[in-house]
């Protein structure tokens, strides 16, 4: 079995599209949650979201190509270009057929669907844009990434709601580890801030009208976000041979399904995914120093997740440093697991645990060390990143120092 390292990262996020901007916002706890301005708000009761403001698709793609990509695919291609460049990867004729492309998205091209159906039902149009289908289909992201970069190996999309990005990276990890491909380009993307999608989330009655305050007693719920993160996963021997400098090693991947309830998280399902990741990495409980929590800022998630960490890690849970990135990034659904995997790789590189931002008052039912508001430089040997999706699908990635 090959060892797998992260050699490249590409980011499109509400706090910047350059690694340093993204990482410094997370470390400083500077939130990207703002009043909604990208879409018409008069029919929304939700007032805030973490939007990728100032993203210029025309500058990235030119007018013609930008028009053929939904925003979720634009984000994925931008992030993938940056990740491959960051890795210093040269895609030549020999390598191209050996690079896998796996991109997660919870829902695909929602802006395209929203626009198309508004035209159809709202404006009584008789025809739709000819590229409606290729823009909105869920696999548009990996298709455009592979097309844009000339990646000709295995390629597909993954849909597991809030865990899509983590599942995509975990599956890519398994392919590189097994030797079926030497390199994979994997991550997640989501552009879900259309009026129709926000209304649909409002109907679930878990959105906050304030900001996202994970693990804080004063939490008011989930805030939607958007963005993308793509990682380059590479066989460690290959990376070392070409002189690449990895961010971190990906050591283990655990998956599970709750099979209990569509909306309420199940402690047993989450615990099984964490144990599976530990076992996959052959790691002991005491090896893990940091947890990048799912931490959505909903009462149900936060209390369940802390309880699960207590039950899985036992006495060691008191020594874990735990934080959620969602106070800064909000919840970008299918992109979240990938953005948080990127953050976890950077955590290991810099040996700094980013804080849980927007924290106000401790919740007695979340009484572990959740790193309130201030980052913590500390020795971090291994870290897990949790993603627990609506629908009960769980994915946990275990990273170690490169």
């Amino acid at each position: 079995m090959n060892r797998v390292v992260i050699t490249g990262i590409g980011i499109v996020s509400p706090v910047g599209c350059v690694i340093d901007e993204f990482w410094s916002a997370l470390v400083e706890g500077r939130s990207g949650i703002r009043p909604i301005q990208a879409v018409a708000t008069e029919r929304l009761t939700t007032s805030s979201a973490a939007q990728v403001l100032g993203y210029d698709a025309t500058a990235q793609f030119g007018r013609k190509q930008a028009n053929s990509l939904d925003r979720f695919a634009q984000f994925a291609v931008s992030a993938a270009r940056d990740a491959v460049k960051d890795a210093g990867l040269k895609i030549d004729e020999e390598l191209a057929p050996q690079v896998a492309t796996i991109v997660g998205s919870g829902a695909g091209g929602l802006n395209t669907l929203d626009d198309a159906y508004y035209r159809l039902y709202g404006e009584n149009a008789l025809t739709l844009h000819p590229l409606t289908i290729p823009r909105f289909m869920g696999n548009a992201a990996p298709s455009h990434v592979s097309l844009d970069l000339g990646l000709k190996g295995p390629a597909y999309s993954v849909a597991s709601a809030c865990a899509s990005g983590a599942h995509a990276i975990g599956l890519a990890f398994q392919m590189v580890r097994s030797g079926s491909v030497p390199v994979a380009v994997a991550g997640g993307t989501e552009a879900c801030l259309s009026v129709g999608t926000i209304k649909a989330w409002e109907a679930l009655r878990i959105l906050s009208n304030d900001t996202c305050r994970p693990f804080s007693k004063t939490r008011t719920g989930l805030v939607l976000g958007e963005g993308a993160a793509i990682l380059v996963l590479e066989d460690r021997d290959r990376a070392v041979a070409r002189g690449a400098s990895p961010y971190a090693e990906l050591r283990g991947f655990g998956m599970s399904s709750d099979a209990v309830d569509m909306l309420s998280p199940d402690p047993d399902g989450a615990a099984r995914a964490i144990r599976a990741a530990l076992q996959d990495a052959r790691a002991d409980l005491e090896d893990v120093d940091y947890v990048n929590a799912h931490g959505t800022g909903t009462t149900m998630n936060d209390r369940t997740e802390i309880g699960v960490l207590r039950s899985v890690f036992g006495a060691h849970s008191e020594r874990l440093a735990i934080s959620s990135n969602k106070g800064v990034l909000a919840h970008s659904l299918g992109a979240a697991g990938a953005l948080e995997a990127a953050a976890t790789a950077l955590t290991l590189r810099d040996q700094i645990a980013p804080p849980t931002a927007n924290f106000e008052v401790p919740d007695p039912e979340c009484d572990l060390d959740v790193i309130p508001n201030t980052a913590r430089p500390m020795p971090i040997r291994a870290a897990i990143s949790n993603s627990f999706a609506l629908g009960g699908l769980n994915a946990v990635l275990l990273f170690a120092r490169a």
Binding site: R205, I206, L207, T218, T220, G221, L222, M300
Partner: protein, 85 residues
């Protein structure tokens, strides 16, 4: 009480139990109401009565409905508020 009967009817349909088995004292958990049921029931009540029920699963001050009677009381209150005096 008309509102109570409507609430009972909506809940009975949502979880497929006989109308007569439900009373104001019925505890939601005891009659098998799950996470999805709660938001669907609230949505059905809002549609039926043209009201907005302030329910967010996260706010600590959120209405915590435990019985059918509590839901009916809240609906009654909102309907009364809506009607011109």
């Amino acid at each position: 009480m008309q509102v109570l009967d409507d609430v009972k009817r909506i809940i009975a349909r949502q979880i497929s139990v006989p109308f007569d088995q439900l009373s104001p004292e019925s505890r939601l958990e005891a009659i098998g109401i799950e996470s999805l049921d709660v938001i669907e029931i609230i949505f059905a009540l809002e549609e039926k009565f043209g009201i907005a029920i302030g329910f967010n699963a996260n706010e600590s001050a959120a209405l915590a409905f435990e019985t059918i009677g509590q839901i009916a009381d809240e609906v009654q209150k909102l309907v009364a508020k809506k009607a011109p005096a």
